[in-house]
């Protein structure tokens, strides 16, 4: 075979979630390693992996306890950045990885780390990897010993790549960890937390204004907390908004420990679905959220793109701040085309896939991870959306749509539409 495996949206929708072809299931084959698959193979290489995420608590430092290879890519966190002086490593040797001898060194290592910090850390995150997953290390016990030795809170961070499709994958676990230092405080009726991402929403996101108009004046995000005291105020929230499903476990924990309930919202690009979601949120909050203005701005951006490039055909990837299937559906519903999607198919995607199959049955679906992607051949498209799609389409305009400030709601859709208009017009891609 010298062709990348793909299946049409119509064929995949017909098969259904219980009969997804093995070529689209990562556990059945070797995982191809290309820049398009980097986010899967090394989540920390782009955006947030466990290491950056674990440092979300202000004033925290991390001690990575692992073979040297696990910390290699932190060299990319260049000196002078936000992580300067916050990463430390306790390297295992051949004996450690078999006997677990390294565990006895951790309390002293944590003490040494605290001693070299210019200001005492608010918490030491102990990050461990596949080795300790296999050794069955009781990290809670290790952390307690280290905490007693160093006199600062010590929390575990599990960078267990082996369990990424398990019950508690690393990025789900770390989301729970970074909220675990919060202690019960009186809840304030005008306060909420936005959870799910490790960086803030775009400043122009209408969600802030809608919440304020609904009487929620203190809108907090972990990534906007500058100090540990600010971080602790997250415990005062009346409710949590959960914008990423990987935060469900954290939200559930916060509800159980601190009595803070949560409401889950989904990042969407279909404007009518965004409107519907805000209507439902308003019902939960007991108010009517007036979203006409931001919606109108998004509609204007859509009209501008549609007028300039009617019927433009896009290639859509999963290395972007979007669900590639939902975004593809939105593009098709707006009258554009989607020639190819590079994505990981799960049951959650099938509601979008079924609609997509009706609107664009010939859209091809690829898996970034399948070995035959070595033979992927670029096909023409108006623009590629996502880091992976851009890698496959070096000769087309692209919008990476992977910036750290998170797009959400109408403002997110508007920004994407404007970025596409700029990219198609030959201006710098985002």
């Amino acid at each position: 075979m010298s062709e990348a495996y793909s299946i049409t949206a119509a064929a995949l929708a017909a098969l259904g979630p219980d009969d997804v072809p093995p070529e689209l299931i990562s556990g059945t084959h070797l995982i191809y390693s290309s820049p398009a698959a980097l986010a899967f193979n090394s989540p920390g290489a782009q955006g947030f992996g466990v290491k950056r995420a674990g440092l979300a608590i202000p004033g925290s430092v991390m001690l990575l306890v692992s073979p040297g290879c696990c910390g290699r890519n932190t060299g990319a966190l260049r000196p002078g950045g936000d992580y300067d002086g916050r990463m430390f490593y306790l390297l295992m040797d051949d004996t450690d990885i078999v006997t677990g001898r390294h565990l006895t060194k951790i309390p002293d290592a944590v003490r040494e780390v605290c001693a070299v910090c210019k200001t005492p850390p608010t918490v030491v995150m102990l990050c461990i990897t596949c080795v300790d997953a296999l050794l069955g290390t009781d990290m809670d016990r290790v952390c307690r010993k280290a905490q007693a030795a160093a006199g600062v809170p010590v929390l575990p961070c599990y960078m267990y790549a082996l369990t990424r499709e398990g019950r508690l994958p690393p990025m789900t676990s770390v989301r729970q960890t970074v909220y675990s230092l919060l202690q019960k405080r009186p809840r304030q009726s005008d306060a909420c937390n936005i959870t799910g991402y490790f960086s803030p929403l775009r400043d122009d996101c209408e969600l802030y204004a809608l919440l304020r108009r609904a009487g929620v004046r203190q809108i907090r995000e972990l990534s906007r907390c500058q100090t540990f005291d600010e971080y602790l105020t997250l415990a005062e929230a009346n409710f949590n908004l959960v914008l990423d499903p990987e935060s469900r476990v954290a939200a559930s924990d916060l509800e159980e420990r601190l009595g803070i309930p949560s409401v889950e919202l989904t990042r969407l690009y279909q404007l009518d679905k965004i409107e519907n979601q805000y209507r439902l949120l308003g019902q939960v909050l007991g108010v009517e959220l007036d979203d006409r203005e931001p919606k109108e701005r998004a509609v204007q951006a859509l009209d501008a793109l549609r007028d300039a490039y009617p019927g433009a055909v896009f290639a859509v990837g999963e290395c972007a701040n979007a669900d590639p299937f939902e975004l593809s559906l939105a593009l098709c519903r707006w009258g554009f085309g989607v020639s190819e999607i590079y994505g990981t198919v799960s049951a959650a995607n099938f509601p979008y896939l079924r609609q997509l199959a009706r609107l664009s049955p010939e859209t091809k679906i690829f898996s970034n991870l399948h070995p035959t992607m070595l033979y992927y051949k670029e096909t023409p498209c108006a623009a590629a959306i996502g880091r992976d799609a851009a890698w496959y389409h070096p000769h087309s305009p692209s919008v990476l749509w992977a910036e750290e400030r998170q797009p959400f709601g109408y403002a997110g859709a508007q920004a994407l539409l404007e970025a596409l208009l700029a990219a198609l017009g030959g201006k710098d891609a985002v």
């Binding site: 070797l30 090394s42 290879c69 696990c70 990319a76 490593y89 080795v131 035959t372």
Partner: protein, 348 residues
Amino acid sequence: MKGLLRRLTPFAPDQSGAAAALYELGGILVICDAGGCAGNVCGFDEPRWFQSRSAIFSAGLRDMDAILGRDDKLIGKLQSAAEEIGAAFAAIIGTPVPAVIGTDFRALRRMGENRLGIPVLSIPATGVRLYDEGAAEAYVQLFETFAKEKLPPDAGVAGVLGATPLDMGRTDPGAGIDEALRAEGAGRALLYGMGAGLDEVKRASRARENIVVSPAGLPAAKYLEETFGTPWRAACPIPAALEARLGELSGRRTLVVHQQVLANAVRGRALSMGAASVDAATWFTLAPELAQPGDVRLNTEEELSQLLTAGHYDAVVADAALRPAAGEYDGLWLDAPHFAVSGRLMEP
């Protein structure tokens, strides 16, 4: 504390070295990991990966694969990939996961060769060792497997061993290394794995000599000497940008911290340009046959600052990423990027 890095980040591990040695040779490379190691090998330690496609894969191990030791499943995946994409050989490269569960790499190799019908290399990298050890093992297995025939020596051809971007700090085949060696009278230089492919590996016995450009190539050079009688010598061209600054070392007591062969080359050139004295230190292999009295293998961060103090050095040639471990040293520092240390390429 031994093993505690407070100022530096970890160096390139053995699986990255093994992958770098084999990267251009047309095989299927499988990093035997859960995903993260393959991401590090490719996304951080292999600059060629961003320039062209390569058949490099993660085994995609999951917890039950590791707990149950499902080698047959791995070989099955490898067989499917080999059928889909075809390859001259396959290489299975270890990581911490197989090291912890005690994977039998020889057995993997035999199983793979039986099922695939092509040569299979298996490099038992562990992730706790350094890149040069992994590269050295890969080179030896490569020549053991493919360089079978004794050919008459070709006076115009020299083999080059140990050239990977991790050591040479360059990605382009040859990268000026062949011209530099030709100027030294080496004839046509074949950089195995950086321009010279598997066919050249198979004909390695025809080289009139082998030139070891980094310690990673030394065990293979010795193997080829024992097997075919090919003599070897160590030499490494100094990047022009660095060489242009070596005059600044005149009269200075200098410490060079790099891979040993380049450090030796810098020493020779610096002494010829008037350096008062030059010692070499390395975080990696310190081969006794290439070392001089006073040369040091570094093991901990503290050792670098202690060495600088004890040696009264007033000039250092080393990757700038090592500067934070230099303590209170405030003398001259000539930056010599070492990709295996900092992930920075050298200026030509």
